[in-house]
């Protein structure tokens, strides 16, 4: 997966297995410069998103598979996102990363925020995109009742992104190996977020510890987590700004990468 073409390093990435206290974590990485850790969403089948390739033009971008997801091994002792955050501190030690930019999407956003409350000084900038972790009331869709196709349909906003995601979900259902991986990811997600539903009631009481500037990024048409959650994040984080991405659903980094980068670059460049 490496590219040796000059000037094209941004579009390619490498893959390595990192041993962490006896289990293997698959990490995609690319670029050079200060470290940036991207924490993926629950439905991410192991993608190197185009937005990561762009970020790799200025950062060394790391994109691990969470334990229990995709190509990373299970860690049965991890029973919560808080446990998972501690595991990630071990991974960061293993990678030798001290201060870094932290970006998380959906489940990964929740994880990023939790991690930043544990070691606030380790995080220079925090980006939460459609982040789970705060309570949305019982009127939001229950993702655990949805079929792969229904979930794809609800995740994206533009008709192009929706139909592409639905077609992809249908292909996954037909492919035994990929469907098995989908079910494993879903099971891992359920274990982390079944009850309380995809949030941690204790998290709001710890968020004041996060010192880093935070960018809260939300799709204008997020049908899985309402915009009220975005405002709540902005209220609870000491130094947060809120960016709404037009024509995007629950995954703005994937659905509108250009608009997302327009918001990301100035935020990342800004002196704190």
């Amino acid at each position: 997966m490496t590219s040796t073409e000059p000037g094209r390093t941004a579009a390619s990435h490498q893959e390595r297995d990192v041993p962490v206290r006896g289990s293997r974590v698959r990490v995609l990485h690319a670029g050079s410069g200060p470290p940036l850790l991207y924490l993926h969403s629950a439905g991410d089948p192991g993608l190197w998103l185009p937005v990561l390739a762009e970020l790799a033009t200025r950062y060394t971008v790391y994109r691990p598979d969470h334990p229990g997801f995709n190509a990373s091994e299970d860690r049965p002792e991890i029973g919560s996102v808080h446990d998972l955050a501690f595991f990630y501190l071990d991974l960061l030690d293993e990678l030798g990363l001290d201060q870094l930019v932290l970006i998380g999407s959906s489940l990964g956003g929740w994880l990023a925020a939790d991690l930043a409350t544990i070691e606030p000084r380790r995080v220079s900038k925090l980006v939460l995109a459609g982040a789970a972790g705060l309570r949305a009331d019982g009127t939001v869709p229950d993702v655990f009742q949805l079929s792969p196709v229904e979930l794809a349909e609800l995740t994206y906003h533009t008709s192009g992104a929706r139909s592409a995601a639905v077609a992809e979900a249908e292909r996954v259902e037909q492919d035994a190996e990929r469907f098995g991986q989908y079910l494993r990811n879903r099971s891992a997600t359920a274990h982390l977020g079944w009850n309380p539903y995809l949030h941690d009631p204790a998290l709001p009481h710890r968020l004041h510890r996060i010192a880093a500037p935070a960018l809260i990024m939300w799709g204008a048409h997020d049908r899985l987590l309402p915009a009220g959650c975005a405002r709540r994040w902005a209220e609870l984080l000491p130094s947060a700004q809120l960016t709404i991405i037009e024509d995007a659903g629950h995954h703005p980094l994937a659905e509108q990468p250009d608009a997302a980068l327009e918001a990301l670059w100035p935020f990342l460049r800004k002196e704190r």
Partner: protein, 392 residues
């Protein structure tokens, strides 16, 4: 062969628009559709029907546990069993308590022990995980279901058999004092049954513990596979499974003629399989509820119980249900018994929209014209302790 009468306590008064829809009858079907006045009449009737099995000469009656559904009105099988104890003389099989759903398994140990002592040792204690939808009902992490089931089972059996107090320090339950009063009357504990649709893990677990395995809602090919798996597992564990350890639970409808029985049963089976059991696949099988191998197979299947429409005639032809004249039913069950070797038969005579008149006629025809001829099968009736004989 021993005979049990199973009752599902269905709530049949659903709006036609729900029946005609594809909406779930579990978890989210509004309880606004439950009319407590009609519910009162149903419970009175259903309890009479359960007692009727006992009076008609069945060895026992079966009750079960399900939640937030019109499929059955028995969220607490122990309450129903308690009501039946003074009205019956035979066994009462609770099939079963969904032990992982309980915050505290000792409550099950206590309740079943109470029922066993009060009934003079007539209780059969089934243990189940609860179906997948019930993990939605209680917002209970389905990925932990199997582990919780095993730990709750081990805790309950130890609480019944080892004098307390003792400490239990498990992954899911941590108890400083395990010492439930009363202890069960039957020694070492009430018989334990394991109802299942045939998962390899459950078949193996039941065989390992030498419990009675009860196959539910399956075609004959699946019943055969499960029973064969049970016998093979028993041999691996160093013993030969007895016929009584193999139970088959199946809807039964007996009428004067085959045509009458099949016509009537078709309507009730259609309501049972296509309305009462109906729910989305992701509700029936939440993430992690099944093992990865089972999940890939079940979730990838185009058809499935409750998740696709089933043709009642096909259900009868494939052995999901038995319907006919007494002669036909006798022949069918005899043939199935000779093929499959079960010694425990659990007939579900109340299912779907079966009326009280149909129920009593069907049960009476079965008890008088089918059961006597089938009794000698599987080596006759297994020895059971006499009802009401403490210490038997």
């Amino acid at each position: 062969m021993q005979f049990f009468g199973f009752h599902l306590m269905p709530y049949p008064y659903l709006p036609q628009r729900h029946v005609d829809s594809r909406d779930s009858t579990w978890v989210t079907l509004s309880n606004g559709h439950f009319d407590p006045r009609r519910g009162h009449e149903l419970y009175q009737r259903y309890l009479r029907e359960l007692v009727f099995y006992d009076e008609a000469g069945f060895d026992g009656i079966c009750v079960n546990e399900h939640h937030q559904t019109a499929y059955g009105l028995m969220p607490s099988p122990n309450v129903v069993a308690g009501l039946l104890v003074p009205q019956t003389t035979g066994k009462i099989a609770i099939l079963g308590n969904a032990i992982p759903l309980r915050d505290h398994p000792l409550r099950v140990a206590e309740e079943v022990a109470m029922l066993d002592v009060i009934s003079g040792g007539r209780i059969i204690s089934g243990f189940v995980r609860g179906i997948g939808s019930e993990y939605h009902t209680f917002s209970m992490d389905p990925t932990q279901s199997r582990e919780r089931f095993h730990e709750a089972h081990d805790l309950i059996v130890k609480a019944w058999t080892q004098p307390g107090p003792f400490e239990w320090y498990g992954r899911h339950y941590k108890l400083r004092y395990v010492n439930p009063w009363p202890r069960p009357l039957q020694q070492p504990h009430p018989p334990i049954w394991s109802p299942s649709q045939g998962s390899i893990e459950t078949v193996d677990w039941a065989a390992r513990h030498r419990y009675t395995y009860l196959q539910t809602y399956s075609d004959i090919a699946t019943v055969r596979r499960a029973f064969t798996g049970f016998r093979e597992a028993a041999e691996r564990y160093g013993y030969t499974a007895s016929p009584a350890q193999l139970g088959w639970s199946v809807p039964v409808y007996v009428a004067g003629t085959d045509a009458q029985a099949r016509r009537a049963a078709a309507a009730h089976l259609g309501f049972l399989f296509n309305t009462l059991l109906r729910m989305p696949k992701d509700v029936f099988f939440p993430p992690g509820y099944l093992t990865p191998a089972s999940a890939a197979r079940v979730m990838g299947a185009k058809r499935g119980l409750g998740t696709s429409t089933m043709d009642p005639a096909e259900l009868m032809d494939r052995g999901y249900a038995v319907a006919g004249s007494p002669e036909t039913v006798r022949q069918q069950i005899t043939a199935y018994q000779k093929d499959l070797g079960f010694g425990t038969f659990s007939g579900i005579f109340q299912f779907g929209t079966v009326s009280h008149e149909e129920f009593t006629r069907s049960v009476t025809l079965f008890a008088e014209n089918v059961m006597p001829a089938l009794r000698p099968l599987a080596g006759g009736q297994p020895a059971v302790p006499a009802a009401g004989a403490p210490g038997a």
